[in-house]
């Protein structure tokens, strides 16, 4: 049989060193898994900037039955943004098969939803859902294990129903009081009844939609949890009210400087990124510019869409990748550990290779369980004009999967299945072991397209999935750091809220152990309050549930 032209192209590119043959394999199983669902975000083709972001997705265990369920923040259309097809909740049967339980659990969110954050806001032991919207944001308290078994909309009562266009949000404990505070990222002022004119707006000589430049950016919001399930807006007194707001698209709460206080990183579209350093006295200082994380090495404020975190250079500090527009590169910022970040994109092979793509979600996970973290980046252009006019980037694009090779460069993977060959309108993505088989799977949303679930079929199941628990609030331990030490090597993961793009991934530390793991693995956990805990002789595979202060570690085998 003659090879297809696509095969020939891939072979040629691989020969040229652009692509990399890998052991990673993914199979698309959305329909088979019971998620036959098309996301909505405006009309097709997109005419306005409101219609291009797509919706977010969360992977979390809402019913505490030890598997990862799915929530999709679904959009609507410009003619009726309050009445879209509705957001969806799917329950996992523990083997990666999902059932739509949206109605069963009383979820009736028809408003144009954008992003999602998950956290136990009332410390009752189950995860609640915060939904960012075009229109008032929504907080759903998880009462599924009580009373009528439903989620209850407490947005107004909780004081978080701000009606500016919000994109992403993240939970974290900024004041160390063991309840979860909330950062909400706002984008720009937009009136769907009077959308901005497209007249005179061009990209590479092609008429396109207006924005974000020319439209008014919005301030973000920092909420402090009052401890009773309600929140207080502390944006101004905390110092998070900025002189020049950005076009916010993504946020992540993480301790970037190792002082056991959670900082806030905000990714802004076409404006500088913010890094709010937690001073520990209830205030923050934006050190984005000072630290070097605000822009790329040339000082360009990039169109930041997503944020991923990992210890790329092995110095124990969280490094970041941010995704960007086409005809630009994504940017890796190494955390030098002295308060500064440095753009090292080229060093890791992630510069020129990403220029043809407009990227969104981005995460580091060890998809092949070979003891180093790989990289997934979703792709798809915002301008439908890219389908017909040549703007150096296509409208539907391949998703990007990179394998970490020899501890240095990332190599683009060419042979992992349709995940890297099918052209899609990729947007948000979430990550976790949905079928509990010992590898990290991927759920990808599209702009006005069907959800994709990519089952990881790697043959190596030597993975440790470490779940952190703590009594007395913040039960998933957002802010914890988990280190795996084995054979003189260290891997490190952070349990955090936010990141990727408008989405929530499983708050679980996944460690690949390689094909021949040593038997000397030690887990070291730094809890959000700074307490340390060590687990010696950790197994080579399985789920470990570690509770702060308890020596008894629960170990569960994979399916």
């Amino acid at each position: 049989m003659m090879p297809s032209s696509r095969t020939i192209v891939i072979a040629l590119l691989a020969a040229a060193g652009t692509l990399h043959a890998s052991d990673m394999r993914f199979t698309e199983i959305a329909t088979q898994a019971g998620v036959d669902f098309t996301m909505t975000c405006g009309g097709t083709p997109s005419k306005h900037i409101l219609e291009v972001d797509g919706g977010g997705v969360a992977l979390f265990d809402f019913d505490n039955d030890d598997d990862l369920d799915l929530f999709f923040a679904n959009g609507a259309t410009i003619d009726d943004p309050e009445n879209g097809p509705g957001s969806r909740l799917y329950a996992n049967d523990g083997k990666g098969r999902f059932t739509d339980v949206t109605k069963k659990h009383g979820i009736n969110v028809k408003r144009w939803a954008m992003g999602v954050a998950v956290g136990d806001i009332d410390n009752d032991g189950d995860d609640d859902i915060f939904i960012t919207c075009y229109g008032p944001n929504i907080l759903l308290r998880n009462d599924t294990s009580k009373g009528k078994g439903a989620f209850v909309d407490i947005s107004k009562r909780a004081g978080v129903d701000d009606d500016r266009w919000a994109t992403s949000a993240a939970f974290g404990d900024i004041d160390g009081d063991s309840d979860l505070d909330l950062y909400v990222v706002n984008y720009l002022e937009f009136d769907h009844k009077n959308p901005p004119s497209r007249e005179g707006v061009n990209y590479k000589g092609v008429p396109v939609m207006a924005g974000p430049h020319g439209l008014k950016p919005q301030q973000d919001i920092l909420y402090r949890n009052n401890g009773d399930g309600s929140f207080t807006d502390i944006t101004k007194p905390s110092g998070c009210l900025v002189d020049e707001p950005g076009y916010g698209l993504v946020t992540l709460m993480l301790d970037f400087n190792g002082d056991n206080k959670q900082d806030i990183l905000v990714g802004n579209d076409s404006t500088e990124n913010f890094l709010f350093e937690n001073k520990g006295d209830g205030t923050f200082e934006n050190i984005g510019q000072f630290s070097g994380i605000a822009s790329n090495m040339d000082g360009s404020n990039q169109a930041t869409m997503g944020i991923g975190v990992g210890d790329i250079n092995g110095n124990g500090h969280p490094d970041t990748i941010v995704t960007s527009f086409s005809s630009d590169t994504n940017t890796i910022h190494l955390n030098l550990g002295d308060g500064f970040f440095e753009d090292r994109t080229a060093q890791f092979g992630l510069g020129l290779i990403t220029r043809p793509y407009l990227n969104w979600a981005c995460v580091f996970y060890d998809f092949d369980n070979d003891a180093d973290e790989d990289l997934f980046i979703s792709s798809g252009h915002v301008y439908p004009e890219a389908a017909t006019a040549k703007i150096d980037s296509e409208y539907e694009q391949e998703q990007l999967l990179f394998e970490r090779v020899a501890g240095t460069r990332f190599k683009r993977v060419s042979n992992a299945g349709p995940i890297v060959t099918e052209k899609l309108k990729g947007r948000s993505a979430t990550f976790g072991d949905i079928d509990n088989d010992g590898d990290v799977d991927i759920v990808l949303t599209q702009l006005n397209g069907p959800v994709k679930i990519y089952r990881n079929d790697t043959s190596n199941r030597n993975m440790l999935a470490v779940e952190t628990r703590q009594p007395g609030g913040n039960h998933r331990a957002y802010g914890a750091t988990v280190e795996l030490h084995a054979h003189d090597a260290r891997q490190i993961r952070w349990i955090h809220g936010g990141g990727s793009y408008q989405s929530v991934s499983a708050p679980i530390a996944y460690f690949g152990r390689g094909s021949r793991p040593t038997n000397d693995a030690t887990l070291r956990i730094t809890w959000p309050n700074g307490d340390k805990q060590e687990i010696k002789s950790a197994p080579n595979q399985g789920r470990l549930i570690i509770t702060r202060g308890q020596d008894n570690v629960v170990v569960r085998p994979f399916n």
């Binding site: 652009t18 990209y203 207006a210 430049h213 090495m297 090292r344 080229a346 060093q347 240095t408």
Partner: protein, 267 residues
Amino acid sequence: MTAMNHRQPVSIHVVIALSLSFAGMCVHAQTDTAVTSKAEPSSPTPSEPDSKSQQQCVALIAKGRFDEARELAKSFVAQHPKSSQSHLLLALTYHKQRKYEQAEPLLEKAIALDEDHNPPKMFLGWCRYYLGKQKEAEQSFLAYLPTNPDYPDIHFALGLIAYERDDLEEAMTRFDRAIKLASQQRRATDEAKSRARRADILIRQNKLEEARDELTTAIRLNPRLYGAMYKLSRVFHRMGDKESAKKAKAMHDTVREKLHPTKGHPE
């Protein structure tokens, strides 16, 4: 912007020079690259458009009147379908507009029509660079190199490619060569951008004082090189000199806004 090319003696005197300064992050491409026409100004051959028309086309490109320039260049191609120069000019109407996908095949055609015509090789290299085709870009630059070994920009380009490969030694060698040649040829902007990129390597090597000096020289040579100003502010920050960092950043902001005012997304 137009400039005369005094670099190499040519029997053909018409010189087309285009400023290839790009907005956005591509500061390293702030360069003046000369394109030597193959046409005689006073005695156009039947196979080439006349020099006056070529100059008119170049002037339109330089003014950003790409559609008009394109129409003119298309007429060149229609009238002189075997003219490498006509294809080059048409390609440049796209290249200057940063529409590299459309420029690329035209440059390939220009080279196919005349393998000895070198400028298309250089432009093709940059096209491929900005399209993310690292290997192919390097091949194009290397194809240009043998006939123009003393052209600073070719070493600068190969330095960037080496930097992308994380081959810092090779990158340093290339930037050093580019700096030396540019200095000898009094090409200040070329020298400046190579020094700015050399500083990137010094920063990677944590040689902050050397990087500071290199960036300071680069900015002196080209006061429009705002990317170098930003890098200098980063270096000052890391050296603990907040006041100098602030000044360098302010200079960056002013120059960048002056050269590339925010007009509307994304250009």
